[in-house]
Structures are given as structure tokens and as C-alpha cells.
């Protein structure tokens, strides 16, 4: 069985946030909620100061702590390693948000409509969640199931993202990880993320 994962090249990312917007367009996420985003930080001192960018999303961990702490079973992991939320089962306790060190989850409290009081036809067609639940990146599971790459991968203007099967030694993501070129965030937390990074 496949275990899907992603490798992101930090040397190539230019912080354009095309992935952020592609994700919002794909999933019609509510106002103020981002399943994928690009973090940034200023490092060094003038005249050598520069910004570094860190694209982040759900890490779809092999040992998902979010699934462990969820009291309802709303968070679950598919056989292919994709961690999902059953929005009909979520009670909005946010224990998963407190337990995950990567911060990809968002609580859809209310007031998330771009046009208050109504949802657009596109939002209605794309949104399978309701107010009062926690939501997060689903690795574009609807695209993956059709054999397509996630929206953030295909939209990246510098092609800094690679998506594939970590269990397939022939895949590019598996080779990058096997060559020790790719590393996960916060490996000391022991969650074995499926999202890896190369470069600095």
C-alpha cells in the first residue's frame, strides 16, 4: 500500500503564496482559514539580512497524535497514510490543535463566509464542513484518488514541491528521503511526518 508524502525544496520556494491561494480555491476554505500557507522569518543582519520561507501544511504523520487525542474518532488515517477529518463526527473540542506541533489545523468558529449570510454556489459545491468543527489540509484527497497531484503541487511556479509514494523506492520523494537530503520538521516529536524539506 502506498504511503503518500511530499518533499518541499526550501531553496527554490520564493514565498509567492500561489500554493496558499490554490488550496483556498480548491477547497473553498472560509475567510481567515488556510490549510496551506507559507511562513516566513527574517534572518541575518543588515546588509546580509534576508527572508526565509517555509511552506507548511498538514504533515499526515505516520503516528498522528491528532488521531490519538481525538475523543470521537473524527480524525482518522487512511491506508495510504492520508490523515482526514470526518466533519460530521467532530465536536470542536480542539484537542487535536493543542496536540499537533505543526499548527496546520484551524477551528471554523463562525463568520467564515466571504459574503455574510450566504455561501456562493462554488462554496456550497466544495465545502463538506460546517461551523464549529476543526479542519485541515487533506492532501487534496479528491485529486489524489483520481491519480492527480495536490493543487499546491501543480500550481507551484518554481516546482519546489514533489508529491508521491514514500513506500515506492523508485519515486522521487522516496529517493530524496532515502538519500538523507530531505528531513521532516521537528523530528524529535516522534510523529514521523510525511512532509519533508530539502535546502535551507
Amino acid at each position: 500500500m502506498a504511503r503518500y508524502g511530499m518533499v518541499i525544496d526550501l531553496n527554490t520556494c520564493i514565498g509567492c503564496n500561489a500554493c496558499t491561494m490554490a488550496c483556498k480555491a480548491e477547497h473553498a476554505t472560509p475567510k481567515g482559514i488556510f490549510w496551506a500557507k507559507v511562513l516566513e522569518k527574517e534572518v541575518g543582519k543588515f546588509p546580509a539580512a534576508r527572508r526565509i520561507f517555509l511552506p507548511v501544511l498538514c504533515n499526515h504523520c505516520k503516528n498522528p497524535i491528532c488521531q490519538e487525542v481525538c475523543p470521537t474518532g473524527a480524525t482518522y488515517k487512511r491506508e495510504d497514510g492520508i490523515v482526514l477529518i470526518d466533519y460530521d463526527m467532530c465536536i470542536g473540542c480542539r484537542s487535536c490543535m493543542e496536540a499537533c506541533p505543526y499548527g496546520p489545523r484551524a477551528f471554523y468558529e463562525s463568520d467564515g463566509a466571504y459574503y455574510p449570510g450566504e455561501r456562493t454556489a462554488y462554496e456550497k459545491s466544495q465545502q463538506d464542513f460546517s461551523e464549529g468543527v476543526v479542519m485541515k489540509c487533506n492532501f487534496c484527497v479528491e485529486r489524489v484518488d483520481q491519480g492527480l497531484d495536490p493543487a499546491c503541487v501543480v500550481t507551484c511556479v518554481t516546482e519546489c514541491r514533489v508529491f508521491g509514494d514514500l513506500d515506492d523506492p523508485q519515486s522521487e520523494v522516496a529517493r530524496l528521503v532515502a538519500d538523507k537530503k530531505a528531513r521532516p520538521l521537528l523530528p524529535e516529536k516522534g510523529l514521523e511526518p510525511s512532509v519533508f524539506y530539502v535546502g535551507s
Binding site: P30, K31, G32, I33, F34, K37, V38, L39, E40, K41, I52, L54, V56, I65, Q67, E68, V69, C70, P71, T72, G73, A74, M89, C90, I91, G92, C93, R94, S95, M97, E98, A99, C100, P101, Y102, G103, F107, Y108, E109, S110, D111, G112, E131, G132, V133, V134, L185, L186, K189, G190, L191
Partner: protein, 291 residues
């Protein structure tokens, strides 16, 4: 709903999801269970009833905190992995068996001296202890927030819960039917509990001061930063040291007479410190930076 700017920055970030409703539950749930436990020790059914009511009030606040409170029953589904789910069972057991336990003392139902009575008492004691400590286990396994990631939390919450439970009992003592309470004995017990709280809290800070970046930042916020005055002045000095010193000085002598007004002031100070402690523990929960 606007995104916060620090959502897009790399660095230490505060948890913002759990606020005053969860904090109030931590306080009331623990205090209610502590009060119930001490009521069993003192064989005072009305105090036990008060403990159950305080726990139920806290639980209602917790329900209000849920995004979808009408689905609360789903939280019973995962007791084999989730401490929140286990907590739902502990609370339910404590309320059900606690009500059965105190019923004879209130003049209802059955004879408490039977074998069934012993089973009910044992289950209600176990459930009360578990309600007091499980919130510590909700926090302590978190790999995300290093300041919470400590095995001391269940112990700290247990002692603080007992302390708060007895304080509520002291405050309520004039209004409780039944035999008058021995305030001197209760206040003497509080000396030991407050001392234990002080040692445990300081031990936790000591352990965390050499932990991850976010835990060290939590310590800085509590001692020299934004929350320094509330923590050092409120939790440590007003909530523990002052009541400890006054109680020791006045009540330690074997012939000491408890003055009700005096014990009320000490109880209020300790309750203030307990709530503040739980507030600050949640507020200074910080996530480690991703890079």
C-alpha cells in the same frame, strides 16, 4: 474571522484555542471532585452534594466550549486512546456513583452499610481521584506544547484540586446542614496541601527551565514577562505563601481556635491562586518554532 499575522511567521507561538471556559472547567471540575473526596473522608453527604454540583457546573462550561455541543456524546467513543474521552467516563461515573453514595446521607434510597454500599463508595472515590488528575494527562502527553509536557501535571492538579475543594467547603460551611465542620483540622490540612502545591509548582518550573525553547519562553513569561506579576504575586505569594504563613502562625498551636473570618480570607486567597494557576498554565502554553 481574520487570520492573525503571527500565523504566517516562523517562531514560538501561543496556543489560543482553549480559553476561559476550559480554564474554568479545569478549576471547577478539579475543585468539585476534591470537595467530593474530602466529603467522603468526613462522611458529610451535603458537602458531597455540593462537590457534585460544582463538578456539574464545570462540565456545563466545558460543553459550552465545544464547537458543536449537541454532539458531545460522541466524546465517549475513544477511551482507549483519548484522555478527553476517558474524562467523560470519569465524570459520568463520579456523578452517578457519587449521587448514589450521598443519597443515604440525604435521607434517600438505601442502606449505606451493605456490600453494595462499599462498592459504590469505592467506585465514587476512584472516579473522583481520576476526575482530579485526568486533566493533567490531557495536557502532559502533548508533544506540541513543551510547558505542558510534564509528568508532574496530574500530581499538581490532584493536590490543587484537593486544596480548592477544601476551600469551597470552608466557605460553604455555615450554609451546610448537618454537624458543624472542624475548621481547625481542615485549615491544618491546607497547610500541608499548600506546601505540596508550592513545591510541585516550583519543581515544574525548575524542570521546564532546561527544556525546549517554547518551555523556556513560558517560564520567562511567568517570571519576568507579561504574566510575571500575576504568577509570582498571585499564584505564589497571595495564593500559597501568604495563606501558608498565616495559617502556620495562627493555627499550628494545638489549642488554636479557628476564627471563621480568618479561614474565609485564607480560603479566598488560595482559590484565587488556584484559578490563576490554571489560567496561566493554559495561557503560557506555547508551541516550539518549526525551524
Amino acid at each position: 474571522m481574520a487570520a492573525r499575522i503571527d500565523e504566517f511567521l516562523i517562531g514560538v507561538k501561543p496556543q489560543r484555542e482553549w480559553g476561559w471556559l476550559v480554564i474554568s472547567y479545569l478549576f471547577l471540575g478539579g475543585a468539585g471532585a476534591g470537595l467530593f473526596l474530602i466529603s467522603l473522608y468526613m462522611d458529610h453527604a451535603w458537602a458531597g452534594l455540593l462537590g457534585l454540583l460544582v463538578l456539574v457546573l464545570g462540565t456545563l462550561l466545558l460543553l459550552l466550549d465545544l464547537g458543536r455541543p449537541e454532539r458531545f456524546w460522541r466524546a465517549f467513543f475513544r477511551p482507549w486512546t483519548s484522555w478527553i474521552s476517558r474524562g467523560c467516563f470519569f465524570i459520568t461515573l463520579m456523578v452517578l456513583f457519587g449521587a448514589l453514595q450521598i443519597a443515604p446521607g440525604l435521607g434517600f434510597l438505601w442502606e449505606s452499610g451493605s456490600a453494595l454500599g462499599s462498592v459504590i463508595k469505592a467506585v465514587s472515590v476512584a472516579a473522583a481521584v481520576l476526575v482530579m488528575i485526568y486533566t493533567g494527562f490531557v495536557l502532559s502527553p502533548s508533544p506540541a506544547i513543551p510547558f505542558w509536557n510534564s509528568a508532574l501535571f496530574p500530581v499538581i492538579f490532584f493536590v490543587y484540586s484537593l486544596l480548592a475543594g477544601i476551600d469551597i467547603l470552608i466557605l460553604a460551611s455555615p450554609f451546610l446542614p448537618g454537624a458543624p465542620l472542624d475548621l481547625v483540622s481542615l485549615e491544618r490540612l491546607q497547610i500541608y496541601l499548600a506546601l505540596a502545591c508550592l513545591l510541585l509548582v516550583l519543581s515544574h518550573l525548575s524542570v521546564m527551565s532546561s527544556s525546549a525553547v517554547a518551555a523556556r519562553e513560558s517560564i520567562r513569561l511567568l517570571t519576568r514577562g507579561r504574566w510575571g506579576l500575576l504568577f509570582l504575586g498571585g499564584v505564589i505569594v497571595a495564593g500559597l505563601v501568604v495563606p501558608l504563613a498565616l495559617s502556620w502562625a495562627v493555627l499550628w498551636k494545638s489549642q488554636a481556635q479557628a476564627v471563621f473570618a480568618f479561614t474565609v480570607i485564607l480560603a479566598l486567597l488560595r482559590l484565587f491562586g488556584d484559578y490563576l494557576f490554571r489560567f496561566l498554565v493554559i495561557r503560557v502554553g506555547l508551541y516550539d518554532p518549526l525551524l
